[in-house]
């Protein structure tokens, strides 16, 4: 697949179809593949594809608005691109999507802790093990064979749902008091693109700065709520978090609820409208009244 990606990138750059190609290259630390920005055809040899391409490259697309860019996208990344287009942040014509059907990314931090150098099924991220859209939903060119969707499994969310109110609070406090408000989650997420995030506002000041547990809670819950109906479950946030917070549990709870209540998944089709921005007379009202 690496060869194919390089070939496509070379062609796109040589024809001048795109100004640059965003892909992955080998990192400088063990088991890490990192974003790379190829501007010249000679540089395409840097591009690689492996099980450690864990970032969501769609988060960079808004920096290149109005310019034509090529982008290497896994299934979840392509959903993010669809969602950005649906929310009016990108023009379809400005992106050349090199779709890569994805068999999953490996948790490098877990592997390093266990002293493993070779990846195996056990080390796939949870959201990859249960991925509903491994094959890109939108692409200009597909690199490789389509991959079948995996079985959905929200047991991580259900474990918390089954807890009593006190147990849930205890879990939440314990895990999220470790947050340091570095905002790596927000910056890694393609759907977090507000010019002024709610935590940056001071008129009114919605959340105070600092690390008081209630502010940490407000930040993480607020972000999860703002992603409801928009999150594409790519896991970039959790992978970016230096404190390894269980961010995906919160986000997957939102995804699960939105599917149940509105039968909607973000970023699957260019024809859909954002679920929480659209009123449908058939919308359930039981959670309002």
């Amino acid at each position: 697949m690496t060869e194919k990606i390089r070939e496509i990138a070379r062609r796109l750059l040589e024809n001048g179809e795109v100004e640059l190609v965003i892909g992955f290259e080998k990192g400088t630390i063990p088991l890490k593949s990192r974003p790379v920005f190829i501007e010249k055809p000679e540089e395409v040899e840097k591009l690689i594809w492996d099980g450690f391409c864990e970032n969501n490259l769609a988060t960079y697309l808004r920096r290149y608005r109005g310019r034509k860019v090529g982008i290497v996208a896994k299934g979840c990344d392509s959903r993010a691109i669809v969602n950005l287009i649906v929310e009016g942040q990108l023009n379809r014509e400005d992106v050349y999507i090199i779709g890569v059907p994805c068999t999953g990314m490996y948790d490098r931090r877990k592997m390093i802790r266990d002293g493993k150098e070779e990846p195996s099924e056990d080390y796939l991220f949870l959201n990859c093990k249960t991925c509903p859209y491994p094959t890109p939903v939108l692409y200009d060119e597909l690199v490789g064979e389509e991959v079948s969707p995996r079985d959905r499994d929200y047991s991580d969310v259900e474990t918390i749902e089954k807890m009593s109110s006190d147990e849930r609070w205890e879990w939440f406090q314990r895990e999220f008091s470790r947050c340091i408000r570095c905002y790596a989650c927000r910056e890694a997420c393609p759907m977090c693109f507000c010019e002024f995030c709610f935590v940056d506002e001071n008129r009114p000041e919605w959340v105070e700065g600092g690390i008081h547990p209630s502010d940490l809670g407000f930040w993480n819950l607020g972000r999860a709520f703002h992603l409801a109906g928009r999150c594409v479950e790519c896991g970039a946030c959790e992978r970016a978090c230096p404190m390894e917070l269980p961010l995906m549990v919160l986000n997957r709870k939102m995804v699960k609820d939105v599917k149940e209540i509105f039968d909607y998944e973000a970023g699957v089709s260019l024809d859909e409208k954002p679920v929480l921005g659209t009123f449908n007379p058939e919308d359930r009202e039981d959670f309002i009244l």
Binding site: G27, T28, I29, P30, K32, R34, P35, V36, F37, N55, T59, Y60, R63, R178, I180, R181, C182, Y183, A184, R186, E187, A188, F196, D200, E208, G209, G210, I211, H212, A236, R239, A240, P242, M243
Partner: protein, 322 residues
């Protein structure tokens, strides 16, 4: 050299909790411990550095009551920070020129700094990401620590303040750590730092910073984990009967860091912020204080979500002919 059995050392340290507030590694960060059993070394370095003791992530400057009478907390604590690595010790001395100044001394920082005993531990097995020796010191440098320990398995070797050595009950020893030191130093990958401040000033207005910042997502991870970063924000908090003014960590990498009320933001673009970060550590600090603002601990390299590698950047800057 002096030596002490580990369990004897920890017993004595445990006894000092109460009289002193002891800040020690406990998993991914340092904490004020109630008992030495909470001390846990998860690898060589904690994620969050011990700068959080000298410059807490949230610190009250003063508070006021309904009549706006201002009151500053009277802090008379004494502290011990245990388990700091030589890089982290050096990082604290790099904070001194900013906070411990003649003209506007920062009383909060100075109070903590003065009343803290620093007990460091040398690094027998540096990480692949360490590059401390690039800055003229190493994994066995005592520096400003009051006491430096060397982990020898069941016992510590120690060197430092006579009174502190006696307090813990160190005894004489013929051993030294020269071999361990040399072995550790040889494992560290140095970066070429000679001439970098001038080179960075030369390439300051070129495309260099645009190029290297492409993959940076401008979160605050590197700055918060960095033991020498000190930028902070000051915020007022309103409470029922008055309020307080606090300072909290801030990051030059955040978009709104330099955002002015008029709407103007001199560092709106990502590459301007990265330029500020790199040059602050490798050009401005050296020109002001003759020391680099980086200690080579490698945390930023390990935890950056997109593997922005400062070692690589410095190497590229050195050879840049834009």
């Amino acid at each position: 050299m002096k030596r002490i059995e580990k369990n004897k050392f920890y017993e004595k340290l445990n006894g000092m909790i109460g009289e002193y507030r002891v800040f020690a590694p406990s998993g991914d960060r340092y904490r004020y411990i109630e008992d030495v059993s909470e001390i846990r070394f998860d690898g060589l370095l904690t994620k969050m550095s011990p700068k959080a003791h000298f410059l807490p992530q949230e610190e009250e400057l003063f508070r006021w009551d309904e009549k706006e009478n201002i009151k500053v907390k009277d802090v008379n604590d004494r502290y011990i920070v245990f388990g700091m690595r030589p890089c982290e010790v050096r990082a604290v001395t790099l904070l001194d020129p900013t906070f411990d100044t003649e003209k506007f001394p920062d009383p909060y920082y100075i109070n903590r700094r003065k009343n803290t005993i620093i007990i460091s531990i040398a690094c027998n097995e540096p990480l692949e990401t360490c590059f401390c020796t690039s800055f003229g010191y190493g994994p066995f440098t005592k520096g400003d620590a009051d006491l430096m320990l060397v982990d020898m398995g069941d016992y510590f070797l120690g060197e430092g303040d006579e009174d502190i050595l006696n307090l813990f009950g160190f005894t004489d020893s013929e051993e030294d750590y020269k071999e361990l030191k040399e072995k550790a130093e040889s494992r560290i990958g140095r970066i070429e730092i000679e001439g970098i401040p001038e080179k960075l000033e030369q390439i300051r207005e070129t495309d260099f910073f645009k190029k290297i910042t492409q993959r940076c997502i401008t979160c605050g991870t590197c700055t918060f984990l960095c033991p020498t970063c000190y930028c902070f924000d000051i915020q007022d908090r309103n409470r029922l009967n008055g309020g307080k003014r606090v300072r909290v960590w801030d990051s030059c990498m955040f978009k709104i860091y330099t955002h002015e009320t008029s709407g103007h933001n001199p560092r709106y673009e990502e590459h301007r912020r990265m330029r500020q970060r790199v040059m602050h550590k490798f050009a401005y600090y050296p020109s002001l204080y003759n020391q680099y603002g980086c200690v080579g601990c490698g945390r930023c390299v390990t935890y950056c979500p997109v593997n922005f590698d400062i070692r690589e950047v410095i190497r590229e800057a050195g050879g840049y002919n834009g």
